[in-house]
Amino acid sequence: MDFLNILNLTGGELIGAYTAAYVLCALGLAMHFGFTGLLNFGQAAFAALGAYGYAIATLTFGWPWYSATLFGLVCSALFAVALGIPTLRLRADYLAIVTIASSQALVSVFGVGQYRDVTGGSNGLSQFGESFYALNFLPDQRIELGVLTYSSNEIFIRIVAWSLVILGALLLLILTRSPWGRVLKGIREDEDAIRSLGKNVFVYKLQSLIIGGTFASLGGMVFVMTSQTNQPVTWGTDFTFMTWTILLLGGAATILGPIVGGMVFFALLMFLQNILEGLVNLGLLPFLDIAQVGQIRYLLVGLVLMLLVIFRPQGIFGNKKEMQFNG
C-alpha cells in the first residue's frame, strides 16, 4: 500500500471542489436547521435546481455564465417560495416529510424521457461550462501538488468554489449576528413565543428557506461545473443526507462547523476508501471485493450520522449548551 499516495489523495479532498459544493449546501442547511429549526430534508432539490437552472440556461437559452448563475439562483428561490408557502405552517415533522417528498418528485421530473430535449432525461446534461471556464485567468499548464496534478481549470474551479464558501460564511456570520438572526434563533426555540412578541414568523421562515436554498443552489452549480455533467441520479436523498451528516459533524448552529465538517468528512471517506481498497488488493479482506468498498463507505456515512446524533449532537464545534435538538 502506498501511504504517501493515500495521504495525498486524502489531502486533495480537503480542498476538493466537490467538498466545497457540499459545504455550500451544508451552510444553507445550517441556516435552515441550525439557526431557524426547519427540518429541511429536500436540500438536494435546491442544489439540483441550481445545477439544472445553470445548465439549461446555458445550453437551451445560450446565456452567458452570469445570467445562467442568476437563473439557477432564481429557480431555487422560487422553489423555496413554492415549497414554503404551503408547508411552513405545518409542524416540523410534517415539513420533513413534505420537503423530502417534493424533492424526490421534482428530481423525478428531471429524469423523465419526454423532456429529454431540455433536461437530457436520465442522461442529464453535459458540456455547459464553456462560458464559465473562459474566465479562467490561470496559465494553461498542469500544476503538481505532491502526487496530484491539477489542470488549470481544476485549480480555477477550486478557487471559485472556496471563495464562494468564504463569502457565504461571511454572509451567514453577518446575518446570524444581526437582530434578524436573533429572531430566527428565537423561532428555532419556540415560534409561538416569537409570534406573541409581534414578529411575523412565517416571513422569517420563508426568508430563511430562500437564503439557505440559494446557498444549496450555488453548491449544486459548483458540483456540476467540476465535471461539466449533471445527471438526475446525483440529486437523490443520499445527497441530502450526506449534507446533513456534514452539518451535524461540524455542528448545526455554527458557521465554521459545516466547513470543517465537510473537509473532515470527505478526507476521512477518501482515506478509508483507499485503506480498504489497499487491504482488499493485498488479499487481507477476502470477504470483500473492490466494488463493495464503495458500498461500505455509504454504510459508514449512515453509521457516522447515527453516532453523531446519539453521542455528540452539537458536532465538533457546537457549544454543548446550544445543542440543536428540540422536541
Binding site: I174, L175, S178, P179, W180, G181, R182, V183, K185, G186, R188, E189, D190, D192, A193, I194, R195, S196, L197, G198, K199, N200, V201, Q207, A253, K321, E322
Partner: protein, 285 residues
C-alpha cells in the same frame, strides 16, 4: 352592589365604565365539546383583572382566541376600538396586547439579554436587508439594550444577563417571560397562569411585579386557577366555568357568589375523583 368599575351592578358580562377589550358571542368548539361560549366580556382599562375558574373552564382557550393563536367558531372582539377577530397573533402583539404562556416559553438556547431584546418592537435590524447595514440598527439596538437592562434589574435577573435562559429556574423563567412581554411597553398584558409552578417566595415577588405594572398604567389580565391567590391583587375578577362566564365583580363580592362556589365545588369533586382513581391503581399494584 355598586362599584366604580362596572356600569351599574356587577353581573356576568356587564358593561364597564372604560373598557380596553370588548368581546361578543365568542364560541369555540373542539369536536362536540364547547370549550368557550362567552356572550359578552369587557376588560376594564388600567386595572388588574383576574380570569379564574376550575381546570377545563376554557380560560386558556379564551386567551388563545383573543390573541389570535386559535380561531373561534364565531365571535367578534375589539381592542382599544380596533376590530381584532381573525387578526394574526403577531399583529395583535404589535397593537400592544402581549401575552405569556401557561407553559413558560423562555427561549432556552438564547441568552437572557437576547430573550429580552426580542421583546422589543421597531428594531429595523430585524428586517432582512437592513440586517446587513449595522449603522441603521445600531442606535435602536442600544436603546433596546438599555430598556432591557432596566427591566432585568427590576425583575432581579441582571446577574443572569449573559446566561442561557435554559439555565434559569422555573420561577426565573416566569419572571423573564413577564419582563420580556414588557419590552414593547404594551397597553394590555395577558398573563396565563403566571404563578403556576413557582415557589411561594417567588410568588409574592411576582404578585408585586403585577401590581407594579398597574402603577405604570398597564392593563393586566391574568388567568389563575386558585381564586385565593387573586384576592390581594385583582381589582376585578371574572369567573369562567364550562366555557361560560358565571360571575364577575370585585374580589370580595365574587368570593361569596353561589355560582362561583358551585363551579369550584364541581371542580373539587372532579379532583377528588381523580385522586381516588390514582390511589386505587396504586393499591392495585
Amino acid at each position: 352592589m355598586a362599584n366604580s368599575i362596572s356600569v351599574g351592578a356587577a353581573s356576568p358580562g356587564c358593561k364597564k365604565v372604560d373598557p380596553i377589550l370588548v368581546a361578543d358571542n365568542v364560541t369555540r368548539q373542539f369536536g362536540g365539546l364547547t370549550a368557550v361560549n362567552v356572550e359578552h366580556l369587557e376588560i376594564p382599562r388600567g386595572l388588574i383583572t383576574a380570569l379564574i375558574g376550575p381546570n377545563g373552564a376554557g380560560k386558556t382557550t379564551m386567551f388563545n382566541l383573543l390573541t389570535g393563536f386559535d380561531e373561534p367558531n364565531s365571535g367578534r372582539w375589539t381592542f382599544d376600538g380596533t376590530d381584532l377577530a381573525g387578526v394574526a397573533p403577531y399583529k395583535v402583539a404589535r397593537m400592544g396586547m402581549i401575552r405569556t404562556f401557561q407553559l413558560t416559553k423562555a427561549l432556552s438556547l438564547l441568552t437572557v439579554i437576547d430573550n429580552m431584546r426580542l421583546g422589543a418592537q421597531d428594531q429595523p435590524g430585524e428586517g432582512f436587508i437592513q440586517s446587513f447595514l449595522r449603522p441603521i440598527w445600531k442606535k435602536r439596538e442600544a436603546q433596546i439594550s438599555e430598556r432591557a437592562d432596566e427591566l432585568l434589574q427590576r425583575f432581579k435577573l441582571d446577574s443572569k444577563r449573559e446566561d442561557y435562559a435554559a439555565s434559569l429556574s422555573g420561577g426565573q423563567r416566569k419572571l423573564l417571560e413577564m419582563a420580556r412581554a414588557l419590552m414593547s411597553e404594551p397597553k394590555l398584558v395577558m398573563l396565563d397562569e403566571p404563578m403556576a409552578g413557582v415557589n411561594p417566595a417567588l410568588t409574592q415577588s411576582l404578585l408585586e411585579h403585577i401590581k407594579g405594572l398597574k402603577n405604570d398604567g398597564t392593563t393586566v389580565l391574568f388567568v389563575e386557577h386558585d381564586m385565593h391567590m387573586v384576592r390581594n391583587i385583582a381589582d376585578w375578577v371574572i369567573v369562567m366555568a364550562e366555557g361560560k362566564i358565571v360571575a364577575e365583580g370585585p374580589p370580595a363580592q365574587v368570593m361569596k357568589d353561589q355560582a362561583v362556589i358551585d363551579a369550584y365545588l364541581g371542580a373539587h369533586a372532579d379532583t377528588d375523583l381523580g385522586t381516588v382513581a390514582i390511589k386505587t391503581i396504586k393499591a392495585g399494584k
